[in-house]
Symmetry: C2
Subunit: 524 residues, 2 copies
């Protein structure tokens, strides 16, 4: 089997520590080729991003993982504010009757929601605490907030003068999950949910598109994760939406990850919640609403886009720390001198800007073996490691490791490093995007027959044994029966109908006319 991960370039550069241990191997075991799902878990663990907890399906996001989330949150938040949105905070709980107001919506979420039924614990006859104080009406821990926010918007919106109403919330939500996976699918997750009301369907649709563009911009420019933009088919729409737009990214196992969605809700929720306004012409009308969200799932996407067999690779723009300085202090008599030089270097690097803020630098002077310390940072995906020892002081050099180039390290003039650190980070950000894009392009094919499609998504296709699927662009007549069949035969779904419709053609299933190609893939 030919490696599908050749772009990681880790094979040529192996670490001291692993050589010492008698054999050359990667820092993460298993590798992506050996067992991709288990590799993912091990990357998360080795980078100390998050872990499972005794609360089923709920993770704890550890400082390095939460630091990445803070950067994601802050940069997205800035983009929302620039486009006129304001943050607010709505209740965690939704009365059961609210969820029921929109029929499709409740169908979509009733199967997997946390239900609060009692308001206290009381000791029973055996002294064991039992739920007590039963509520008149059960409360649902929000799986999403359309209905409770809609109820409040109905009070806030009276006149066309109150529109557009552009609100965002950063919050936790809960959806009971059968097969939780850290970041990708957890019972509780952190997200933002935007909710807007507009006077016309056109304005609401413009908002839906604006946000999708913003998400795509963020995914590509901050997470260095190329995405396809498009519309979901009816069967994949958000429950209660008229139209769901999405960004889809390709992971290194060639599966698709839905990384963000933006919904045009028509008047479904405004009718369910009573969001009415007096138009300029004095008529009472229902508002047109949208909702949109991205979540901590983005971190899962980032991991599976960039990490390699030595661990996480964090795109510099979202890295909690950009640069770690590792003092090499073999002798006690030069120790203080080396540390002092590290502190000076840290100051010099910190005084430079990158992506709108000062470069974030840490000195790691923990009392650990050099190899252990260095590899700890590699596994965390730190963009740059700078090692300085007594000889570097004499030579005016720094030993630089750049995470996107595997574990290769090389000496640099100290002055050149300080002056060039910003472009190193910029270059790394670009390089990560470019290679992810190249990977997606290599693994995206145009297919014009049903047989070829089935062969493409069936492992062990004799003509391309290493490939069992990627993104396939095919003509489809939009008849849902073929979609159903693909799902049941191959576990392949229509990821999106691309925004640029392209040429019309002939449906590979029915031979009927197709309005344009769609993107098919297996997915998370």
């Amino acid at each position: 089997m030919i490696s599908c991960f050749s772009q990681s370039r880790t094979e040529s550069v192996k670490s001291d520590i692993f050589k010492i241990m008698g054999k050359v191997r990667n820092a993460i075991s298993p590798t992506r080729e050996e067992d991709y799902p288990e590799w993912y878990q091990q990357v998360v663990k080795a980078a100390d991003l998050a872990e499972n907890t005794p609360v089923r399906g709920c993770m704890v996001i550890k400082p390095w993982g939460y630091g990445i989330w803070e950067n994601i949150r802050d940069s997205l938040d800035g983009m929302f504010k620039e486009t006129g949105h304001k943050n607010a905070y709505f209740p965690l709980f939704i009365p059961k009757s609210f969820l029921q107001r929109e029929a499709e919506h409740v169908d979509g979420f009733a199967k997997e929601c946390a239900v609060v039924t009692h308001s206290r614990l009381e000791a029973d006859a055996d002294g064991i605490l039992q739920p007590a104080g039963e509520l008149d009406e059960p409360l649902i821990v929000r799986p999403t907030s359309e209905t409770i926010i809609g109820d409040l918007f109905a009070r806030w919106v009276q006149s066309y003068r109150d529109l557009p109403l552009l609100i965002n919330q950063w919050a936790n939500v809960v959806r009971w999950e059968m097969r939780p996976r850290l970041f990708l699918r957890t019972a509780e997750f952190l997200w933002q949910e935007g909710h807007t009301v507009h006077a016309t369907p056109e304005e609401a649709m413009d908002e839906t598109r604006l946000i999708l563009k913003l998400y795509a911009d963020f995914a590509e420019n901050w997470l260095a994760m190329p995405v396809l933009c498009g519309e979901k088919t009816e069967s994949e729409r958000f429950p209660g939406a008229e139209c769901t737009l999405c960004i889809e990214a390709m992971m290194q196992d060639r599966k698709a990850l839905q990384a963000g969605t933006s919904h045009f809700l028509g008047q479904n929720f405004s009718k369910a919640c009573g969001i009415k306004f007096q138009s300029e012409q004095g008529r009472e009308e229902f508002g047109w609403t949208t909702s949109w969200g991205v979540s901590t799932r983005l971190i899962g996407g980032m991991i599976m886009t960039h990490a390699d067999d030595d661990g996480l690779v964090v795109p510099p723009k979202v890295a909690p720390t950009h640069v770690v300085i590792l003092p090499v202090t073999p002798k006690e008599e030069t120790r203080e001198q080396v540390l002092q030089s590290c502190r000076e270097l840290a100051e010099q690097v910190r005084s430079q800007d990158f992506a709108g803020s000062a470069i974030r630098v840490e000195i790691d002077d923990r009392d650990l073996r050099g190899g252990e310390k260095y590899w700890g940072w590699v596994k965390k995906g730190i963009p740059l490691t700078l090692e300085i020892g007594p000889r570097d002081l004499e030579n005016g050099t720094v030993f630089v490791g750049r995470r996107d180039q595997g574990s290769k390290r090389e000496g640099m003039e100290r002055e050149a490093l300080v002056n060039g650190v910003r472009s190193l980070l910029e270059d790394m950000q670009k390089n990560l995007f470019d290679r992810a894009l190249a990977f997606r392009e290599e693994n995206t094919v145009t297919i014009d027959s049903k047989d070829d499609l089935y062969a493409y998504f069936t492992p062990g296709n004799p003509s391309k044994p290493e490939i069992h699927g990627g993104f396939a662009l095919v003509h489809w007549d939009r008849d849902p029966q073929w979609e159903e069949q693909l799902k049941s035969d191959l576990k392949v779904t229509v990821r999106c109908i691309p925004e640029e419709p392209g040429e019309t053609g002939t449906c590979i299933f029915s031979g009927n006319e197709s309005p344009g190609r769609v993107v098919l893939a297996k997915s998370y």
Copy 2:
């Protein structure tokens, strides 16, 4: 009855709009004197900070209120990070058995917690959705996270090398409240909770004190809210703590508000959760833990410290917008000229820094009557309003309203304003603090007999009819029976035992020796 609110200076300056309405009155009705609790609700409403929702006890924090919270969060967060703390995120749910691990802790929280018992909704025979999928063990929506975080810390802490462990979480928590009040006491609220583990009790106690100092610094320097620092008595301690330190502020009705607490938890939670480490000497020992938090309650404290009978007054450092520019455009032909001049002024002001970031400026060009618009901003507590009309363009002037000086406005040279805007804001921040401090000092008395104490806290004390209590400093022998009696007789509690113990003396209840004065007050 003499006004206790004379410092607000609103009496001399009444608005155009209210004169037009035929009588001179305040923007908020009732005034503080007329009905303080109702005045509070009306200030919150008029400033559009938050409102009640159909979910009992849960509020929605609206954009202006949430903007204040974002500023509180960001500045506190910076202080936590500067002192070595890292953010993480822990599960919303706590298994019932975890809460029970610490006996006092569960006693403290079992009476008011949201209990999740089911994992989905299912239609019954009548088609009505009912809770289904009962959980093996009920989950509690976190009222605070000591037990779940303790369980995870037990995995993270192995050796003295892992200590101190300094973690903070920004999160929502739920405590069922019988009498909810916006910001002050809501079922769900937003907060931060710090949780740390240390190798020795001394280090843990140092951390407890460090955080209290940080809270006091934040309250005074950002919220302009003077606070007393001290220790809670045993009866007021956090359930499970060995020692609770607190900051206490005086509201304008002279009641105390507990604005933040920092707890030394001893080894109670490390024993309950199994947080053990191997010491430098190779012994296995239990860690020493702390926890500490402040919440959206701080916004309630800010309101009741600074707001006046015309509405909210936001200390500049936490104001979502520092300066609003109001174009005065009586004639269509000068409209664009005025707007252009406003845009230029906005740019000039924005290019100045205040409290570490650019001054936040908004232009309000909504199509509303001038008085309505101006008073809207007064009620929101915006620090500075700048009005510009055609005549100001000719004269190079701006009509400036400074919120801490009531609704008085005066003309200023435009250039002087631009150059002086930062010091105006600084001066306002200082002025708000100074007058709140003066108010507290005026209403803090030293009392040396039980009769005087009872008179002080009994409404209608003949010698001082306008005063029914403030802060009383009294000698007390620390016998809890007197504390109980005060509570039942007067609804007065020991707010704190001040950190500076002061002189010993004679207990006013028992005549026994007192180790120092304590602070007594009615409270929220």
